[in-house]
Every structure is written in C-alpha cells, then in structure tokens.
Amino acid sequence: MRITFRKSYEQDIRLFRDGAQAAWYLGFLAVALLMPLLVDGYYLDELSFVYIYAIAGLGLMILTGFSGQVSFGHAAFVAIGAYAHTIMMTRYGVPWLLSVPLAALISGIAGLALGRICSKMHGLYLAIATLAFALIIERLIGSGGDFTGGHGGMPVPEITIFGVELFESWQKYFVNLGVFVGVLLLVRNLTRSRSGRAMIAIRDSEVSARGLGVDIAFFKAYAFFLSAALAGLAGTLLAHAFFFLSPESFGMGESIRLLLMIVVGGLGTIHGAVFGAFFIMLLPTVLSWIKVLLPAGVAASSGLDSLAFGLILVVFMLFEPDGLYGRWLKIHHYFNIFPMYKRRSFQRQKTFLKTERLR
C-alpha cells in the first residue's frame, strides 16, 4: 500500500501529486508516441478516433460533468467545427493552422449563444433544448445547398501545415495526439482553478454557489463556450478522419453516443472522458471477436452492436453509475488496502424522493 505524504500545498495544485504519478503518465505518453512503430495504419486510425472522441468527450465533460448542464445535442458543435473548418479551408483558402482555432472559436460562440438562451433551464428542459438545437443545425446543414454541400456532403482536404501535406496515418496520428494532449492539459488546468471550481459549485448547489459570489449565468455560459469550442475542435480533426462530411454523420444518435460515452467513462472526471472514448472505440472490435462465437443468424444482425452498447449502459447505471473510472478507483482501492476492503466504503447513499417542487 502506497500512501501519498504531502509535504507542501503545491502538491495538491501541481499537475502530478508526486514522482510516481508523473512517471505513470509520462509512461503512457511514451507508449502513445511509440505507437506508430508498434502497430499498423488501421490501428493508428482507430487510436486517432479515440483521441478525437476523447477531445469531444472532454468538451461535453466540462458542460455536463463539471457544470452539471446536460446536453443531448453535442454532435451539433462537432458538426459546426467540422463544417466551419472545411468551408474555410476549401472556399476561402484559410491555412489549416489558422482554420482550426477559428472553427473552434465559431463553435464556441454558437455554444455561448445556446448557453445564453438556455441559462435558466435545467435537466429535462435543457436536454430537450440542446437536442432541438442539434436537430435544427443538422437540418440547416442539410438544406444549406452548395455552401455546405447539403445532404450530398462535401469532401475534406488533407491537413496542410506550412505547405507540407499530412496524409499518412502516422502523420495524422501525431497531429491528433498532439491536440489531444494539449486539450488534456487545458482541461486539467481548468479543474484546478477558480472557473472550474465555480462550475462544480453550480453543479452541486446553485443556491450556495450564488451565496459565495458565483455569477451562475456567466459561468454556465462560459462552460457552454469552452465545451462547444472543444467539441468544434474535435470536429475539425474528425473532418480529416472522415475525408467526407455529411449532416447524417452528426445526427442525434451521435449526440446521444457522446453523452453515453462520458457516462460510461465516469461523469465528472477527466479520466472518464478518456476511458469512455476508449470504451466506445474498442467495443466494436471486442464485439467482432465475440460474434465469432455466436450463431450466424444472431451475429449477422445489425442490431447487435447497439444492443450490446445499450445493455452495458443499463448494467452500469444499475450497478456502477460512477462509470469505468469509478470502478477502476474501487479496484485500485481494493488492492491498496487488501485485505481490509469493505463493501461499505463505497456504499451509495439512498435517499427518499426529495421533491424540488413546491406545492
């Protein structure tokens, strides 16, 4: 069992608690950097998707996991980022390095606008409002004619940095990895500073957050801005991974998948978004191994993937609402204090229905 002895306040503020933790994460980074030597292009592309989804997941995590505002329409911001980026590159010749942050900014501003409109909404209202926003955006892109390519879609040019075209899998892999690590740092910085704490305060108790001076509407909107900007950033990368954009790629199913992804990973943690992204990208691969064992009729059915996904979610909600990361913490704890583990140490509190209605 390893106990962290804290020797200074900085240990709780710095990126890593101690050398051991730093070593772990640098180890992961090293493995990620060496991946192109270890696996072939197909798996590099898959990993690229993991990083891109993790970026979008981190964006949604800021909104839903930290500030407590649920979004059923985050694919819309991914779409806005992807389309803004592609349109700027192809129609206006904006260089890649400029187009990516601009597209993220545009998406962020769209998020800000939606956030302002929805600043008084909670729970279901917000869920349906964001869903409605996403459906409207999808519809607008679909009927955008030549400008967006409509339902016919539009092709995406390759990544070009200072005149060098990056089209090999490993080249794109490094671009995606680089952006992903950058975003991880930004989000980590957010969680250890005033704005991040303000969001958590809003999530857990609006009334006492307000009492402590948190401007609720402002930080809700800020969360919307950051969240949509990151989703848009993921969209710019996703555009290059897709090669071809069409509004159907960013439909409602995709929004729901993003939300469920961070829930499975573990809501309210940075790890959760990353775990969720790995889960959602690895699930089809794992299922394809399992399918070999199933009778042909069942294995061939196209509903099997979503059935498995839905069932896994149901099981998680029933038995482990803290998600994969929550489960990991428990296993970690189990071995740390072996053989002293008690079920009670993580028992969920039950409360009776506490109504928020006054009547």
């Binding site: 649920v70 829930v263 059915s301 509903g303 909600m317 509190q349 229905l353």
Partner: protein, 293 residues
C-alpha cells in the same frame, strides 16, 4: 402563406391536429410518470414503437381479428411497463434523476435494437381501423386522422375523470405529492408506481397503433417521441392539460410551418418550442417551482 386555398388550410389543420393528438398520447405517458415519481422516461417513444410492432405481429403476421390484436398489443405493453418499473426503475429509487435519464435512454437503445432484430429495420404500415375518407365540404380527411383526434380527446377526458373520481386515481395523485407520506398512509406505493408505468406504456402503445395507419412504422419512429417532449415542454411539463395543449399546438402548427419554411422542414416543432421558452421559460401552464432553502 401564399398558394393555399381554404380547403388546403383545413386539410393541413386537421392533419396537424391528428398529429398533435398522437403527440399528446405519448406526452400523457411522460407526464404521468413525471408527476408520480419525478422520473423522466426517455424510452416512452420506444414503448410507442413496440405497441405498433406488437400490433403488426398480432394483426398482420398472425392474422388476429383487428380489435383483438389491437387490445392485446396494448395489454402486452402494459405488462412491459409494469415489469420494467418493478424490475429496473424501482432499484433506482433515491438515485439522482440523471441516472434515470441515462437508464431509460439506454433502455430505449436496447428496445430499438431488439425490435430491429425481431422485426427488421425496414418500415411497414399497420392496417387501418376504418379505411376510407370523409368529405367535409371539399376537405377530404382520412378516417384514421379523425379517429386519432377523437381517441386522444376521449382518453384525456377519461384520464381526467379517473384522477378526479376513482380511488386509485386519487391515490396516484397523493403519491405524486409526497411518496413517503403516501407510504405511511398505507398506500401500496410500489404497486401504484408500477401501475403508472404500465398506464404510461399503454398510452404509448395506443399512440403507436393509431400512428401505424397514418405514417410508416419502423425502429426510427421512436424519434417522433421527442416532439412529444417538445410539446409537453411547451405546455409546461408536469401538468397533463398543459402537455396535451402544448402537443396539440405543436402538431397543429407543424404542417403550416413546414409549408412556410421548407428549409426547416421537420424541425418546426423545436423552433416553436424555443420561441415559447424564450417568452415563458417554464412553459405555458407550469407547475415547476424554485427549490426552497
């Protein structure tokens, strides 16, 4: 709105009302559950889908008499709703509302996948309850549309009377005010809650069965359930008359909206919802209040 004569307007209006009536049948199910338990059932539209599919199975595939198949499908969904609450949702008592959000959303995915595996992912249509049309001085309306409107109106009335006068209905209302107090008063809280889920699922099934002859049925029809959400929100979630009113409003306005703004075809319900929420953030007839400290 140019190019529409009176008959066209009437036709659109009645089609819209029929559509709105179906939305309100789904929404009634949502609001019933919300009022009793403050849980949101995102699988409600999948209950509707299953209702249509079971109807298809009984009437078309097994050749049962229409009414028998119709009622049987509703009964089956009632059973599914009851069991779902008893086996799954009940375990979530006392958990945050968000967990139930995700749970029902995931259940929806499971039900869609299962339905697709059993019945396929193609669309089909259900036989009509009363084929043919009715001619109202130049306005030609399918009987199916009329029946949808009448059914929704009658059922709303029946539900109103049920909550007003029947013992069980009053017990359910008490439940929605205070679960714990209802339990202490010796009410069978668990059974009542499951019954409400059953009732909600039956309303969903009915919507599906009535929708079947009007529109094509597939695993994707679940998505029109979200328009019922929009309608219920417009009316003010948490009040049944409000939800019905909101759904009728949305259904009624939709065909006109689609005609007026073809670029936004299909998402008119949501645009209207935003417009209403901007003016009245709690919906038209709201029953939600600020939390007390």
């Amino acid at each position: 709105m140019t190019g529409l004569n009176f008959a066209d307007v009437m036709q659109l209006a009645i089609i819209g009302l029929a559509q709105g009536s179906l939305y309100s049948l789904i929404a009634i199910g949502l609001v019933l559950i919300y009022k009793a338990t403050e849980q949101i059932n995102f699988a409600q539209s999948e209950f509707m889908m299953l209702g249509a599919f079971f109807g298809f199975q009984f009437i078309v595939l097994w050749g049962m008499p229409f009414w028998l198949g119709f009622l049987l499908a509703i009964a089956v969904l009632g059973g599914i709703g009851y069991t779902y609450d008893a086996l799954v949702i009940r375990r979530m008592t006392g958990q945050p509302v968000f967990v139930v959000f995700i749970l029902t959303l995931a259940t929806g995915i499971v039900l869609r996948a299962l339905a697709g595996m059993f019945w396929g992912f193609d669309s089909f249509s259900l036989p009509s309850m009363m084929p043919g049309t009715i001619d109202l001085t130049g306005v030609i309306i399918g009987w199916d549309h009329v029946i949808a409107i009448l059914a929704a109106a009658l059922l709303s009335l029946a539900l109103f009377l049920f909550f007003r006068f029947s013992r069980v209905g009053i017990a359910m209302q008490a439940l929605s005010l205070n679960q714990l107090a209802a339990f202490y008063m010796g009410m069978p809280v668990k059974r009542l809650t499951s019954s409400i889920w059953a009732l909600a699922a039956m309303f969903g099934a009915l919507a599906g069965l009535l929708l079947g002859p009007i529109a094509l049925v597939s695993t994707q029809i679940g998505f029109i359930g979200f328009k019922a959400f929009a309608g219920a929100i417009v009316g003010g979630f948490g009040s049944i008359p409000g939800a019905v009113l909101g759904c009728l409003l949305i259904g009624f306005a939709e065909p006109f909206f689609d005609t007026a703004f073809p670029t936004l075809k299909g998402v008119g319900a949501y645009v209207i919802m935003f417009a209403v929420l901007l003016v009245r953030p709690q919906g038209l007839l709201s029953q939600m209040h600020q939390k007390k400290v």
